[in-house]
Amino acid sequence: MDEFLKSCAQSIIDGDGDVAETLAKQAVDDGAPLIDVIEKGFAAGIREVGRLWGEGEMFLPELVMGAEAMKRAMAILEPSIAGSGGLKEAAGRVVIGTIEGDIHDIGKTLVATMLSANGFEITDLGADVPAGRFVDEAEEKRADCIAISALLTTTMNGQKKVIEELENRSIRGQVKVMVGGAPCNDEWAKEIGADGYAGDAVAAVALARSLVD
């Protein structure tokens, strides 16, 4: 079993979606304990990917390929867990997007991919998203967290508008808000009353975990 879990982790570290998918199918067919397969196998792999990226060993393409492989494995494992009445639940529900007026998509998509690979349920609204729409979607999806990206100093004020809209609808207490993007920092997050700032996709995962817990 240990060997099997190791190869699951390795498939994610290698960013090999084909292998990850094959191993996930094998786990389902063999009736392996799927929660363990995820936690000690695939998820251990994606954590290692995050660590290697943080240390500068991996660059963005390896990070994204690891996350994509993780998603493919999870797509096979999750229905089987649900079917078996297992306990696996999403780490949290996150509504994510780039704020209105801003078409920069890459950083946001990277964060969404990493969150998804780490077990979060993601609603990605894309780019150029009006403040009201973040809140509408968060209400509808009963999201734990809204993640807002802004790449321009001219659009970052929109992040504040999302928080104001949450306050207007008296649901600020029900949902956490995290912000990111080139012009943002911790100070900015505090200034606009957000719950946190993350500087990259790996930090965003850690932040989302701490906010949702």
């Binding site: 500068g56 660059f59 963005l60 393409p61 078409i103 890459i106 950083g107 990277l110 321009l152 100093t153 001219t154 012009p183 990259d200």
Partner: protein, 488 residues
């Protein structure tokens, strides 16, 4: 006997053709996204309808060919008095500062901050004073006027403080009409402006292959008013385009060709420039380094494709990702200016810029001015002034035991060499020490002060500037700003 202007060749003739032909296939088979109704109807009317299956506009190759036939190969841009300031085409190189910085580097405080009106005035004044800059750029966005009118305001300040043409652009669709009126006021009227345009409008497609409402409209508006449109296509390798440099150049070509098609459909024969601001996307940091040598290679290579297509060229080069005026800033800017000059890029935007096109620096602007001077000198190559080249001169020099007193020396030395300002240190160690032993940024800061205190741009005609002020005040009031910031 003749000398060559030094040039970099990036591709064989066969490869240039192959890249252009594949770009045409991309437009025909994949197509483009267009979010602007007027552009869609122009395209539809010309036989390039929206594909119902994927919502993309497929452009037939015949449309591209026709657009390339009507687009001019030479674009002239004029100064306030109707004199030629830029003659874009061939291998002629012109520099102007990098545009639309959100911050300015404050040398005294040692950090970047939000620019205000005074900074815009200083920026425009310096560009006006520095001869190696062929044009102004609306390079800095003022933080002391509302964001909604930022595009108009920066043009207003540039027009007031300089006779040079302006490389500019819109942030909002409705800004074009007002900016056009400002420019027409300075040129005399709309017809004279069309005849002798004093501004270039940047139009930026979103990679890959998308024309937003704002940029498509800017393209059409520019075409209809005869103001040169400058395409700023920006593939990011491995992020918003193929990772290979050749792949980025090919996508860039497709995006530019689609812009030329929309533009020429709006007004056949209107002036347009093949340009961009691509980057070799940094896979470690997720950033868009303008100082990466590969970014400059994409720039130089696509300029060669633009020349192959017979359209004047532009690139964002001679700028840096450094956060202050240091070794990296100089290295990246000089490398970019050099490669641009050797690639014969007609309009090079970038000087003064730091931090990925987001921070301007007055000190860097005056230092980069010397880089541009040297790059321009480089691009003009080695002249052959005499035949025989040296033999009689050496005989004469030997007789006199020196060459300094030769009339031939006096005749040519200023033409043979570019003399940079003394911020470029060529003094002896003793002289350098005696003048305080300062570094280049420090010398540049002093030059900025001296230039600003000793130079006044030629003022605009009183009635013209009053009309501009009226226009600007009307715009400001619409955003709820009762008074414009005081101009020093």
């Amino acid at each position: 006997m003749s000398a060559l202007n030094p040039r970099i060749a990036w591709f064989s003739g066969e490869t240039r053709k192959a890249i252009a032909s594949e770009a045409v296939s991309i437009l025909e088979e994949i197509g483009i996204f267009v979010e602007n109704d007027e552009a869609l109807s122009l395209l539809d009317g010309a036989g390039a309808g929206i594909d119902a299956t994927d919502g993309m506009v497929k452009i037939p190759s015949s449309l591209v060919e026709k657009a390339l036939e009507t687009a001019p190969s030479r674009v002239m841009v004029y100064d306030r008095y109707g004199e030629v300031a830029m003659d874009l085409g061939g291998d002629r190189v012109h520099f102007n500062p990098g545009s639309a910085a959100l911050r300015i580097y404050d040398y005294e405080r040692g950090k970047a901050r939000t620019p205000e009106t005074d900074d815009l005035v200083r920026f425009a004044t310096l560009i006006d004073a520095l001869p190696n800059y062929a044009a102004q750029s609306t390079g800095v966005i003022a933080g002391d006027v509302p964001e909604e009118i930022g595009d108009r305001y920066r043009l207003y300040i540039a027009l007031l403080n300089s006779t040079k043409p302006v490389v500019t652009g819109t942030f909002k669709v409705d800004a074009f009409r007002v900016m056009h009126e400002m420019l027409a006021t300075v040129a005399g009227d709309a017809d004279r402006l069309r005849e002798r345009p004093i501004a270039i409008f940047d139009c930026c497609p979103s990679p890959p292959l998308k024309w937003s409402d704002l940029t498509a409209q800017a393209l059409i508006d520019a075409a209809r008013t005869g103001l040169p449109a400058e395409l700023v296509s920006m593939p990011l390798t491995g992020a918003t385009s193929p990772v290979t440099l050749a792949g980025a150049v090919t996508q860039h070509c497709a995006e530019n060709l689609s812009g030329i098609v929309i533009h020429q459909l709006a007004c056949p024969g209107a002036p347009i420039i093949y340009g961009g601001s691509p980057a070799c996307f940094d896979m470690r940091k997720g950033t868009t380094p303008m100082g990466a040598v590969e970014t400059m290679m994409i720039d130089g290579a696509y300029a060669e494709i633009g020349k192959h297509l017979g359209i004047p060229t532009h690139a964002y080069m001679a700028l840096s990702d450094s956060k202050l005026v240091d070794y990296q800033a100089g290295m990246e800017s000089a490398m970019g200016a050099t490669i641009a000059a050797l690639s014969g890029v007609n309009n090079v935007s970038g000087p003064g810029m730091l931090d990925f096109e987001s921070c301007q620096s007055l000190e860097k602007l005056v230092l980069d001015h010397e880089i541009c001077g040297m790059a321009l000198r480089l691009s003009s190559g080695i002249a052959l002034r005499d035949d025989p080249i040296a033999l009689p001169l050496i005989r004469e020099g030997l007789a006199k035991k020196e060459f300094l007193s030769l009339p031939h020396t006096a005749k040519w030395y200023r033409k043979e060499a570019y003399f940079p300002d003394e911020i470029i240190d060529r003094a002896t160690l003793e002289e350098w020490e005696s003048k305080g032993g300062r570094d280049a940024a420090n010398r540049a800061a002093e030059r900025v002060k001296n230039l600003l205190s000793g130079y006044t741009p030629e003022p605009l005609d009183g009635a013209v500037s009053a009309h501009l002020k009226e226009l600007m005040e009307r715009e400001a009031k619409r955003t709820g700003m009762e008074r414009l910031p005081e101009l020093a």
